[in-house]
């Protein structure tokens, strides 16, 4: 087990003739702590899989270097990096039994047969596969096969990290939850570094201690689920995490206070009023509420989601979403809304402006 | 790893050598051929090709071959389509036996059928017509087409059919408007195989024709025996028979990698 470090890593796939290379992965410098559970979260095509394949060595980055526990591995082949990886579609060796599948990585490395038996039995126990060891792997369901893929990583004792590339894509919804808790449990039991790629925020937030949000080839924020929710560093994180996503509204500044559509907002902090560029405020729907005085809005839509309601309102050209308690009445006449000062964030050119909340 | 290209390259070289021999001979005069071996034509001549393109018995041979091959491909694929659909979607009395019986016809040596075919097609007065050859080739091409198409169709989820029926499509409208476009790749591969086997088969084609529908390949064998040893002419005619095949391969080249897996690997 070891710490993984990225130093100025960039990657571009070979460009078409006569075209400038397009970076699938923009510059990333990042340290993955030993024993951490990380989730790489982002929309399709944001560079998550590229990043994962660079860690496992299936791809060599065009620039930068990767270090495992301080030693350079950038050009080392996959087999020598001691990485395990679970793919989106379950990979099992169809002709082998479950037992032989699990034993395969050990036998390839010349481990003694007695030790192989011991490890396989142990891991099969952990994954609830013990009663199916002598079955042909081809006959298992998708979640069983995915467990085998995972098991082939776990049996090895030299593994530095286990990488997951959207491993639950082909699993039935009710089994997804089970398998995810199994992963979490395993992580707590064996404390191995795990990096989990997904585009599903629920998966990411429930699995990981730290979530790495990626957008357009770059890492935009690394943080705990709570940090990502409360203090998104980039408007994309605000949109992407939370349901519904954060409201991002254009604003101006007046004496260090944000002004939205001629309404001076009370934010409890002050910033320099000479900020240039595109200025926006970010406010989560959870922190918008109806009030007696505030910004006048027109109600467009009310969705009742059971435990709460999502209300879409409009002020001039801007649409604002708000989360309102189930039993809370929605004012029928000239409704007004206000934003919770503590959770009002300011963005300059999509990046959060550092502010000190009182 | 980088040495990998050697084997395919050597293999292709091996494939090309006899073809080169044929081509090079087709540009030689008879005297030069019989005079001894030469790697390149010494007196380059197009005489052999000119002869073929001006003599009706020669070029009609090509036309005859192409007519019955295309006829056979159309017949085979169009009757195989509904049958393959039936085998891939429905269970019916005797379906498995029928399928196996169809395949056994692919295993029948053409030599076994040569004489009975001659008698049969003479009796129904189709002897020496393009249709006779096209129908005779159905013997092995239909089973093959059914087999290939069934594989492709089994790969298409049944929900496609059910959705279409729910949307109010009649069977034939669904089949022609939706299903056939969906398995276009499969049809391409099936047609390729039918074309191939019909184009290259000679025994039955020769047996069932005498003058009006005589295939090019049969004309070549006759020439070889009647007009002496005109190797140059034979080589030119042979070279020309490669062209239709090359065309067909060129058109299906993108299907080859996927399509040859017959849809259900």
């Amino acid at each position: 087990m070891s710490q993984i470090e990225f130093k100025n890593v960039r990657h571009a796939y070979p460009p078409a003739k006569g075209q400038a290379p397009v970076y699938a992965l923009k510059e990333v410098s990042q340290i993955w702590n030993d024993g951490g559970a990380y989730a790489l979260l982002g929309p399709s095509g944001c560079g998550k899989t590229t990043l994962l394949n660079i860690i496992s060595g299936l791809l060599t980055p065009s620039e930068g270097s990767i270090l495992f526990d301080g030693s350079e591995v950038t050009r080392l082949p996959t087999a020598e990096r001691h990485i395990a990886q679970v793919f989106q579609f379950p990979v099992v060796y169809d002709t082998m039994t479950v037992y032989d599948n699990l034993a395969f990585p050990l036998r390839n490395r010349g481990v003694a047969e007695a030790r192989v038996t011991q490890r396989v039995t142990e891991i099969a126990e952990m994954l609830d596969l013990s009663d199916r060891l002598q079955q042909r792997a081809a006959g298992l369901t998708a979640d069983g096969k995915q467990k085998i893929s995972l098991g082939r990583g776990l049996v090895r004792e030299d593994v530095n990290a286990i990488l997951f590339d959207e491993p639950l894509t082909v699993i039935d919804p009710h089994l997804k939850w089970q398998l995810r808790s199994k992963l979490k449990e395993l992580h707590q039991r064996i404390g191995m570094t795990m990096i989990y790629v997904t585009h599903d925020q629920v998966e990411a937030l429930t699995f990981a201690d730290k979530v790495v949000v990626m957008y357009d080839g770059g890492v935009v924020q690394v943080g705990t689920p709570v940090e990502l929710f409360n203090r998104p560093k980039h408007t994309f994180v605000g949109y992407f995490i939370g349901s519904p996503g954060m409201n991002v509204l254009p604003c101006t500044l007046d004496q260090g206070q944000p002004v939205f559509a001629n309404n001076r907002l009370d934010s409890g902090y002050a910033v320099a009023s000479d900020l240039a560029g595109k200025l926006e405020i970010g406010i989560r729907p959870e922190f918008v509420s109806f009030s007696d005085d505030g910004i006048p809005v027109a109600i467009e839509k009310v969705e009742d989601l059971g435990r709460y309601q999502v209300v879409t309102v409009r002020h001039e050209a801007e649409q604002i979403k708000m989360v309102v308690g189930e039993d809370q009445a929605i004012p029928a006449q000239s409704p007004k809304i206000s934003f919770a000062a503590d959770n009002l964030l300011l963005y300059q050119d999509d990046w959060a402006v550092e502010t000190e909340h009182a | 790893m980088n040495k990998k290209w050697i084997l395919p390259s050597l293999y292709i070289l091996f494939l090309m050598l006899p073809i080169y021999g044929l081509l090079s001979m087709s540009f030689k005069t008879t005297n030069e051929i019989l005079g001894g071996f030469s790697l390149f034509p010494q007196n380059f001549t197009l005489e052999n090709y000119i002869k073929i393109f001006t003599d009706p018995t020669w070029y009609n041979g090509y036309i005859n071959s192409l007519i019955y091959v295309c006829l056979n491909t159309v017949i085979s694929v169009s009757v195989a389509l509904p049958a393959a659909y039936a085998f891939s979607r429905y269970r019916f009395l005797g379906d498995k036996h029928l399928f196996f019986w169809l395949l056994t016809n692919r295993m029948a040596p053409p030599a076994v059928f040569a004489l009975p075919f001659f008698q049969l097609y003479s009796a129904i007065e189709l002897f020496d017509t393009h249709l006779a050859v096209a129908l005779a080739h159905c013997l092995f091409n239909i089973p093959l087409a059914v087999w290939i198409l069934e594989g492709f169709m089994s790969g298409i989820p049944k929900e496609l059919d059910e959705t279409a029926y729910l949307d109010g499509y009649s069977f034939w409208r669904f089949f022609i408007r939706i299903f056939i476009p969906t398995i276009a790749a499969g049809i391409g591969v099936a047609a390729f195989f039918c074309f191939m086997y019909s184009w290259v088969e000679l025994l039955l084609a020769k047996t069932l024709t005498s003058v009006d529908a005589k295939p090019i390949a049969a004309i070549m064998t006759r020439t070889a025996s009647t007009s002496g040893y005109e190797l140059g002419l034979l080589a030119a005619a042979g070279s020309l028979t490669i062209i239709p095949g090359a065309f067909v391969i060129y058109f299906v080249r993108n299907y080859i990698a996927k399509g040859f897996a017959l849809g259900r690997v």
Partner: protein, 287 residues
């Protein structure tokens, strides 16, 4: 796939049934008719029972032809299948060369069979053919029209030339259908190239390989045109395979009874071997 029982499906199969039955049933009956009877023309037949079958089964000529056929087919399979797999494995997966390779490799498959024979005849002629001339000038004594061994070698090499591409194309298609993740996983599991072949590529190619072997078996067992044009079955009878012998008896000597009996035996042999092969493969699949 779950199938629904529907007897109306017979209507969809009817055209195929009629066309194939017309081509298969009537001629087969004709053959059966000849096989059990003697005719002197004029549509007069005399019942002969199994006389012809006994005669064929006892004849040394049939045994020899069958033996040669078996030897030829086994040689073909032993050479073409491994060679085909090897070429398919070393082909590039992507890039501009793929189409070029595929098109060039498929070329021999689409050349009329007698042209293949003629082409190899020209290619192998000892004095003026590229192959024959080269071999002889390198000091080998090679003449396929006179030496049985040369004739055999030429016939086998011709068939390898003609049909290995079918095995290559089928295997290549099978290989292309393997997702990249399998190779990556094997890489991570530290599998050797042999293990990758044994546990990933071979299992995934099994289906297409079955098809390839079946097709190659059937076609090589029924081979007629190419060796007939190349060697005419000679020198002597050394390359007279079953089909060539059959046509000689039926059309050359017009011995319709024995020819018909031989046809049926021949057909049954092909059927039997295919059935055994098919059953064994299917049983393996189920396990």
């Amino acid at each position: 796939m779950r199938k629904t029982t529907n007897q109306k499906a017979w209507w969809l199969v009817t055209p195929v049934l009629l066309l194939v039955a017309f081509n298969a049933f009537i001629p087969l009956m004709t053959v059966v008719n000849y096989a059990f009877q003697e005719t002197f023309g004029n549509n007069q037949f005399f019942w002969e029972g199994t006389t012809w079958f006994e005669k064929v089964l006892r004849s040394e000529r049939f045994h020899d032809a069958l033996g040669r056929q078996m030897l030829f087919t086994s040689m073909i399979l032993v050479i073409e299948v491994p060679l085909g797999i090897a070429v398919a494995l070393s082909m590039p997966r992507k890039g501009p060369w793929v189409s070029v390779c595929l098109v060039l490799m498929a070329l021999p498959l689409l050349i009329p069979w007698n042209v293949v024979g003629a082409m190899w005849n020209i290619f192998a002629l000892p004095d003026i053919g590229l192959l024959g001339y080269s071999l002889n000038s390198m000091g080998f004594d090679y003449n396929f029209t006179r030496q049985p061994v040369s004739a055999w070698m030429t016939t086998v090499v011709m068939d390898v030339w003609h049909w290995t591409s079918l095995v290559v194309l089928l295997c290549y298609a099978g290989l292309c259908s393997i997702p990249d993740a399998y190779y990556q996983a094997a890489h991570i599991d530290g599998a050797s190239p042999w293990a990758v072949f044994r546990y990933i590529q071979l299992p995934k190619m099994k289906r297409v390989l079955t098809i390839a072997i079946l097709l190659r078996f059937m076609d090589s067992f029924m081979i007629y045109t190419e060796p007939f044009v190349l060697t005419g079955g000679g020198p002597g009878n050394t390359t007279t395979f079953l089909s060539i012998d059959l046509v000689k008896i039926a059309l050359g000597q017009f011995d319709l009874g024995p020819a018909a009996a031989m046809s049926l035996i021949y057909f049954l042999v092909v059927l039997l071997i295919c059935w055994v092969f098919y059953t064994v493969m299917m049983r393996n699949e189920e396990q």
